[in-house]
């Protein structure tokens, strides 16, 4: 009797199953596609380009009120009049960045750890000295630069892409594996002739499908709404995204390789992901952390991914410039898969 083929090969069937279980969860679709766009819109508008804001500074009623006219000449300052105690209160609560008092000389009261206060001090000093007749000794000219690529949104879009690749890779694989183990579905599958490698590969292949959609949606959105262009090669961007996605797929598998409950896997996921959200330069540059931490931060997979994505998208770097980051990602990818497969539990 000729054997009739009723199905596609197991790897394809399993990949289809992964694909179906994902698209049939509306909440997953929200987190993968809608959430990063909402974040981009919110942050993009919060930090959009606009005329530099005037810094509020305070003068004290009757004491330094006479300086008001000179301060109003400055394009950088908004002077306000306060009674003395109210002025100190306003400074303390951050309503003004600097309070101008008078002792024998004029006294600037401000907190030097606040960048805005330091700017306010310079601008106030400048305004008062100019009003008193100071002239520049060295002639200078200001030329403002607003090139695309230097804005916050240009920094943000690659970071969001990196964060999303991490989140969907880890949650997508981790939840599916942990749920299946909890429901004893993994045990049931282990009792069939299914090849174990097909199961793991199906997770990677289905990620590939969604990866494509995620990258296209986020990059296209940044381009259309915020005019964030991809300066480097699209092919290299694809390669970097791909290896990043596989790396976090592996980390997701590793995180879920033994977890017996959803709570357990959620906790582990957060333990892995939250530090990287903060350290790896999603919303602000990781350069802000102390030098002693930099080697550790650079070794994190999300830092490598974000740095590589930014280099390709914003700086237009080529393969050689991001080879180190790709190397770090590849190492994480291989390591996490090897360990995950070794310690994976089917029941």
């Amino acid at each position: 009797m000729a054997e009739q083929r009723h199905t596609w090969p197991p790897l394809l069937e399993l990949t289809l199953v992964r694909f179906r279980e994902f698209i049939r969860q509306p909440e997953a679709l929200f987190w993968v596609f809608a959430f990063p766009l909402i974040l981009a819109i919110a942050l993009g508008f919060a930090f959009r380009d606009r005329a530099p804001e005037r810094i509020p500074v305070g003068v004290i009623e009757g004491v330094t009120e006479d300086l008001l006219v000179a301060l109003e000449q400055s394009p950088a300052l908004t002077p306000r009049i306060y009674p003395e105690s109210a002025g100190r209160e306003a400074l303390r609560t951050g309503k003004i960045s600097l309070l101008i008092d008078r002792d024998e000389a004029i006294v600037f009261v401000f907190d030097p750890t606040r960048p805005e206060s330091r700017t306010a001090r310079l601008e106030t000093d400048d305004a008062l000295q100019r009003a008193a007749g100071r002239k520049d000794l060295v002639p200078v000219e200001n030329r403002e630069s607003r090139e695309p690529g230097s804005r916050y949104i240009d920094f943000l879009i690659p970071g969001l892409l990196g964060m999303n690749l991490m989140g969907t890779g880890m949650w997508g694989v981790g939840f599916s594996v942990a749920t299946s183990r909890m429901q004893k579905l993994l045990k049931r599958l282990a009792a069939t002739p299914m090849r174990k490698s097909d199961y793991f590969l199906s997770h990677m292949l289905s990620r590939l499908l969604f990866l494509f959609l995620e990258v296209v949606v986020i990059v296209a959105f940044g381009w259309i709404v915020f005019d964030v262009a991809v300066r480097g090669s699209i092919l290299l961007l694809t390669v970097v995204s791909l290896i990043g996605a596989f790396t976090f797929c592996g980390l997701g598998l590793l995180t879920a390789s033994r977890a017996q409950t959803i709570e357990g896997v959620s906790g582990l996921m957060n333990l892995v992901m939250v530090p990287m959200w903060i350290l790896s330069g999603v919303f602000f540059s990781s350069e802000r952390f102390p030098d002693t931490m930099q080697p550790f931060i650079k070794a994190l997979p999300l830092t490598a991914l974000n740095d590589a994505l930014r280099a390709v998208m914003i700086e237009g770097s080529g393969l050689m410039a991001v080879a180190a980051e790709i190397g770090i990602l590849a190492l994480w990818c291989v390591l996490s898969f090897v360990v995950a497969l070794r310690i994976f539990r089917w029941n």
């Binding site: 009739q4 596609w8 069937e13 579905l185 045990k187 009792a191 069939t192 002739p193």
Partner: protein
């Protein structure tokens, strides 16, 4: 049926059940499995003939599931040898998996998939097997073909679990408490499925804590308690092994002392069964009047009285002093 053909049939079934060299679908020797603080299975031997339906009967925690999962290759025994279809898990696991089908206790299949998608996925794992649609219709699931697994009733889910076991055209079917929690109608349907599978020559190993299920389905039954087989045979043999073949159950107010009941002529055993006393007797016509006379003399009120033929449940009670479902 003519006497000689009846005798021939008996001889042939006896031969089939005792043919050691070729006829075994499952053989296990000296199986032992311990978990921290518990001996789950304790030197258990088992032989299931090809084409036989074999039942593992016992209370929860007796070691039935650990035993069946060792036979299914899911749990590695600490000690002992297992052969399924003449092959060992150690060397031929992939080959055995192609030839067995199983349903675990409490597997939840993927809620997001449809019935057809589920069965299709399982079919893809086997190098040969049945058409997924044919399996679904044989289990009366064709109407639910495109329904999500999450929307199925308990009975339908159980049928789907059996469908995943049958779709690879197995030679041996392992069913771990397949009817627990099912309504009577679904149980009957499942029994019918098992019968049909056996008509194709398949071997079945089933665990259950339902006596009637074991009596009606199984050729032979092993009663398991504390990880050991405490009785083995056909349901008829096992029931016949009871010293007394009838059972009287009764309750009185106030309660009688057991000594008074054992003192009645013809009572060969007495056990507690919930609020009742359960008496093993040979003859109802002799013993029932004697028991009633004693109750009258004691001036207690009879509140419950029933009699029945001894069942596997009675055997279990007489072997262990406990009820199957209480522990």
């Amino acid at each position: 049926m003519r006497p000689w053909s009846f005798i021939l049939h008996r001889i042939m079934t006896a031969v089939a059940a005792t043919d050691v060299s070729a006829g075994f679908a499952i053989r296990a020797r000296g199986l032992r499995k311990t978990y921290p603080g518990v001996v789950a299975v304790d030197h258990l031997d088992l032989e299931v003939g090809s084409g036989e339906c074999f039942g593992l009967l016992g209370p929860n925690g007796a070691g039935k599931t650990t035993t069946i999962e060792m036979l299914e290759g899911l749990t590695r025994p600490d000690e002992g040898e297992i052969e399924v279809l003449g092959r060992s898990w150690r060397h031929d696991a992939a080959e055995i998996r192609q030839k067995i089908g199983l349903s675990l206790q409490e597997t939840q299949l993927n809620d997001k998939l449809t019935v057809y998608e589920t069965i299709r996925m399982f079919r893809s794992f086997y190098s040969r097997g049945r058409d997924p649609d044919a399996v679904l219709s044989s289990l009366a699931l064709d109407e639910k073909r495109n329904a999500r697994v999450g929307k199925l009733s308990g009975g339908q889910k159980q049928r789907l679990a059996v469908a995943t076991a049958l779709v690879g055209e197995p030679q041996v079917l392992f069913l771990d408490e397949p009817t627990t929690g099912l309504d009577p109608q679904s149980r009957l349907e499942l029994w019918e499925q098992i019968r049909r599978f056996r008509e194709t020559g398949g071997t079945v190993l089933i665990t259950t804590h339902y006596m009637d299920e074991a009596e009606r389905l199984c050729d032979r039954v092993a009663i398991v308690d504390h990880g050991r087989i405490i009785a083995l045979g056909t349901p008829q043999e096992l029931i016949g092994s009871l010293e007394a073949s009838k059972v009287i159950e009764l309750a009185t107010e106030p309660e009688l002392e057991s000594g008074l009941l054992t003192g009645v002529a013809g009572v060969s055993g007495i056990h507690r069964r919930g609020p009742n006393w359960s008496l093993n007797v040979d003859s109802l016509v002799d013993t029932v009047p004697a028991v009633l006379r004693m109750i009258e003399q004691q001036r207690v009120r009879l509140v419950y009285l029933t009699t029945h033929n001894a069942t596997l449940e009675d055997l279990f009670v007489s072997l262990t002093g406990r009820e199957l479902r209480e522990s």
